[in-house]
């Protein structure tokens, strides 16, 4: 073990001596001090908190990612280039120890810097939202809705398979598409239509959703129902509706009349006593708008229930832990790349990997997941083949990188959403243990076979 720590210390010292890393750390310092003072929100306390967290920690994370990748690439490759590695390998040090020492050194250094960023950001947040600069209403909002950790609960999915099959058969009987059209092309469209209809509220009608909570909510914290809808008309008309909360048929149901604008997020507070003993909460929306118009809640994210889970600081630290695992993963990529290549090549390869990791959604789309083929129907065979090859590459990339595309914890904490231990454990298992382990295996394998004493 002491061998590894000696390598860790050397690795940290080398990273700190790197001019590029120092320049990046200077930018980090500027971002940490400058951004909280200069970013302009929308004038609300909620906007200010979201912007400060996203921008300050987001920029810090970007700089730390680059610094980590660079320092990790340099950790082994510069030692080989400068022939310092011979002093290490001439001692009884195994390749595993060398890799682990380099990886830990870079990871712990950047992890420490990340912790500093989190602490400074939290300090800046507290300073810019101190009671002296906020109204009583804003302070209340900050304490109850913004600086909290709320678990997001989506409504239970309805089993619409029978409805979809019925609609599919009916539409086919009506001849709505050519007979030779494959089912897999039409089915998703029919499914989307049926799901949209199941989440729509006709003029004068009502619709119901059920939320299953993981546990009974705390009695002193209201539940927040957040919702967003579109209209069947183009006008940006404010819609009158009525939310009824509680078991259907209960005459004492909790009712809230709302007057909301479409396409923006709206919310209502629900007293926790309306959650049933089986931890379900039933909500019903009645469309009582004077003008006949249909209200459409997006089936994917039109409704969500936010349930209080804990304080903000603990959530921020959990988010920090999640980000730390991501840095550890980047560090593993860099160290392994450094064992294979010289520093420019290793850095280029690692930054390309970083780019791919940050364009997850785009890669997924190109891989054709959930979307139509990108080749046009009348394309020639060469074009179709090229498209198939490209899609194959992206599918392979998606298969490899898919497990590491996870929700950005900064997006969650910025809106007061709970960063769960399940998510953090997943990040550790996948990014550090699994992918980190595979990368270590490759790095160690190559390092143990690499000739590092070649003449210049």
């Amino acid at each position: 073990m002491p061998t590894i720590w000696a390598i860790v210390l050397i690795s940290m010292r080398n990273a700190v001596r790197s001019k590029i890393v120092l320049v990046l750390l200077f930018f980090l310092l500027v971002a940490l001090i400058g951004l909280p003072l200069s970013v302009r929100g929308d004038g609300t306390i909620s906007g200010h908190v979201q912007l400060l967290l996203r921008y300050t920690l987001g920029v810090a994370m970007l700089i730390l990612s680059i610094a980590t990748v660079w320092a990790a690439c340099a950790a082994v490759s510069t030692e080989i280039r400068d022939r310092h590695i011979q002093m290490v390998l001439s001692k009884p040090v195994r390749a595993t120890q060398l890799w682990l020492g380099k990886w830990l050194g870079v990871t712990l250094l950047n992890g420490g810097l990340l912790l500093l960023c989190v602490v400074v950001t939290y300090g800046a947040l507290r300073w810019t939202t101190r009671p002296a600069v906020l109204s009583a209403e804003e302070q209340e909002l900050l304490a109850t809705e913004i600086l909290v950790a709320q678990r997001r609960v989506d409504p239970q999915l309805r089993d619409l398979r029978a409805d979809i099959a019925r609609e599919y058969e009916a539409a086919r009987a009506r001849g709505e598409w050519p007979a030779e059209t494959p089912t897999h092309q039409v089915w998703p469209l029919v499914e989307r239509t049926v799901r949209a209809r199941a989440n729509a509220v006709q003029s004068g009608g009502q619709n119901r959703w059920v939320f299953q909570l993981p546990r009974q909510p705390p009695p002193d914290r209201p539940l927040i129902l957040r919702y967003r809808f579109a209209l069947s008309i183009l006008d940006m008309e404010t819609i009158r509706g009525r939310w009824r909360i509680g078991p259907p048929g209960d005459p004492r149901r909790y009712e809230v009349e709302v007057f909301d604008a479409p396409r923006s997020w709206n919310s209502i507070a629900i007293p926790p006593e309306w959650v049933a003993d089986d931890r379900t909460l039933t909500v019903e929306f009645a469309n009582v708008h004077e003008r006949p118009v249909m209200v459409l809640f997006n089936p994917a994210d039109g409704l969500r229930l936010m349930v209080y889970e804990g304080g903000f600081l603990a959530n921020l630290l959990r988010a920090g832990l999640s980000l730390f695992f991501h840095l550890a993963f980047l560090s593993a990529i860099g160290v392994t790349a450094g064992t294979f290549f010289s520093i420019p090549v290793a850095a280029l390869a690692s930054f390309y990997a970083l780019l791919l990791l940050n364009t997850g959604r785009f890669v997924q789309r190109l891989a054709g997941r959930g979307g139509a083929s990108i080749a046009s129907a009348d394309a020639g065979w060469i074009e179709q083949m090229l498209v198939a090859i490209t899609q194959g590459i992206y599918r392979a990339l998606d298969l490899i990188l898919g497990p590491v595309y996870t929700a950005n914890p900064l997006d969650l904490i910025a809106v007061g959403e709970w960063v769960g231990w399940g998510e953090i454990s997943y990040q550790f298992l996948v990014k550090v243990f699994l992918y980190g382990g595979v990368l270590m295996g490759c790095g160690v394998w190559h390092l143990s076979r690499k000739e590092v004493a070649l003449p210049l």
Binding site: D42, T44, R54
Partner: protein, 509 residues
């Protein structure tokens, strides 16, 4: 050693070139100004981001702006608006000399995003963001762009001034309150502001001023922080200044600096605009629309000039109809009301336009509409001399419209095409409505307008009842209650809507 010497030499050379380029830069700016090569002044004292983006980033600034633009569009689609002010600020500052960027983002904030909120105060915040982006950013970096002036004027004329937005009254009220606190009335005291010390040095040279500032600071106020009228400390500052003989001088200094620095309103230009378009109320948006249009005129040509002139023109007509600030603090009532004093100015503007434009048919139509509206307005204000002036103009310009009708008959015909053909219920509603207006304006201590509505109520009652007075059966079946009864019903209804003693006294029978 040789290598170090070379490095030092290169560094010295670089610094020398840098210095020389800096010296040349000043001369180039001077030459550019002297030869009128550009309307806009070179960027001076610009924020670091703007300097960095215009100098260091070069062509890449467009690329970064595009990326930020894509992000802004995505966030907007996702319903996440809190970041858009910052993104709009960065996008525009990355390309500060691209006016369309400023126009688009200001319009997006004020129009597209504001309507996503249902609370008027939230909407107003976004409308303000739009105004501030154009006024404090767009016009700062593109002071000679007439389109930016027009777009800013349009936000005042249409977004705040018209009735298309559900929250338009809130916008008007919020803006009026802000301006009322700043100006202390309809318009600033131009003479006082002209004499007010404009710089801090001039202020400090006033005898006794440093002592007053010290006293205020000891009381926890910092007058030279120029809080602005929306700040909670503004009222406390005004109250503190009231007690000191030097208070008015300091207050005028604060007002003039706030007008210029925060609202970009130059008092001398405001006074000039008033001289041109009449005694407008600066608490209302029409005056600001006209101000910004007027400010853009020196840089405008062809269509832009026409558009700006039309904006001034329309703002004047709007100011006649809604350009007076009626505010009853006790009853917490606010609404914009007609400003009949602007009548001669607006008529003159129309007459000049009729004489100037090549095809006057559009202006003739607009002028007829204005004269009809103006006539009903001044008539309800009991400004009979003005009503006769307008009627004479109608007779001269549009003889067919008023043929065979007296002034009274024409006014009633404007309200209701044929009063006698109305149903009994409709006619009673009209008469009672006029009486309601009479008492409403009486309650607000506006006797002129109250008298006008009373006169109109009588005219309407007479117009309806006159043919029925000859036929007992018809009168019995469709006649109206006596005028006094309708009047009393309206009085009681208005009385029920008010609570303050002084107001109720004005309504007693």
């Amino acid at each position: 050693m040789k290598r170090v010497g070379l490095t030092v030499l290169v560094c010295v050379l670089a610094v020398g070139c840098w210095f020389a380029a800096g010296r040349l830069h000043t001369d180039l700016h001077r030459l550019r100004r002297e030869h009128g090569l550009a309307h806009a002044e070179p960027l001076e004292n610009a924020p670091p981001l703007v300097v960095f983006s215009t100098v260091a980033l070069g062509g890449f600034s467009g690329l970064i702006a595009d990326m930020l633009w894509v992000r802004a569009a995505q966030l907007q689609m996702d319903g996440q608006y809190f970041e858009l002010v910052q993104l709009a600020d960065w996008i525009t500052k990355l390309q500060p000399r691209f006016p369309e960027g400023w126009v688009y983002h200001a319009w997006n904030l004020a129009y597209n995003i504001s309507v996503m909120f249902d609370r008027p105060e939230d909407r107003w915040r976004w409308v303000r963001h739009g105004v501030e982006l154009l006024r404090d950013g767009g016009l700062r970096y593109n002071p000679a762009d007439p389109n930016l002036h027009r777009e800013l004027g349009w936000l005042f004329q249409h977004k705040i001034g018209s009735t298309t937005d559900q929250a338009h009254m809130f916008y008007k009220y919020a803006w009026a309150q802000e301006m009322d606190r700043l100006l202390g009335g309809r318009a600033p005291d131009y003479d006082a502001l002209a004499q007010a010390p404009r710089s801090r040095a001039a202020l400090m040279a006033v005898e006794g001023m440093p002592a007053l500032l010290t006293t205020l600071r000891e009381a926890g106020l910092e007058p030279l922080a120029y809080y602005g009228p929306t700040d909670d400390r503004w009222e406390a500052l005004i109250a503190a200044l009231d007690a000191d003989p030097l208070g008015p001088i300091l207050l005028d200094h604060i007002r003039v600096r706030t007008l210029i620095d925060r609202y970009r309103l130059i008092p001398e230009r405001m006074q000039h605009v008033e001289a041109e378009i009449g005694p407008v109320d600066w608490r209302l948006p029409q005056a600001h629309a006209a101000y910004w249009a007027w400010n853009g005129l020196p840089y405008a040509e062809d269509f832009e000039e026409l558009a700006l002139r039309r904006m001034i023109f329309q703002s004047m007509a709007d100011a006649f109809l809604y350009g007076r600030f009626v505010y009853d603090r006790a009853e917490e009532l606010f609404f914009p009301a007609p400003n009949p004093d602007l009548l001669p100015y607006v008529m003159q503007a129309y007459q000049e336009a009729l004489a100037q434009v090549a095809d006057p048919s559009t202006v003739r139509g607009a002028y007829l509409n204005f004269l009809n509206t103006a006539l009903t307005t001044v008539y309800t204000y009991h400004r009979l001399a003005d009503a006769r002036t307008v009627f004479t103009e109608l007779q001269a310009q549009y003889p067919d419209e008023v043929a065979g009708l007296s002034l009274d008959q024409y006014v009633v015909s404007l309200f209701v095409e044929r009063m006698e053909d109305l149903t009994e219920m409709e006619a009673q509603a009209f008469v009672e409505g006029f009486f309601y207006q009479h008492y409403f304006w009486l309650a607000l201590d506006e006797p002129e307008q109250a008298q006008g509505y009373e006169r109109l109520a009588r005219q309407a009652w007479n117009a309806y009842m006159e043919p029925r007075l000859q036929h007992a059966e018809w009168r019995e079946r469709t006649g109206l209650p006596p005028l006094a009864s309708i009047r009393e019903a309206a009085r009681r209804e208005v009385q029920a809507a008010f609570t303050q003693r002084a107001t109720l006294d004005r309504l007693s029978p």
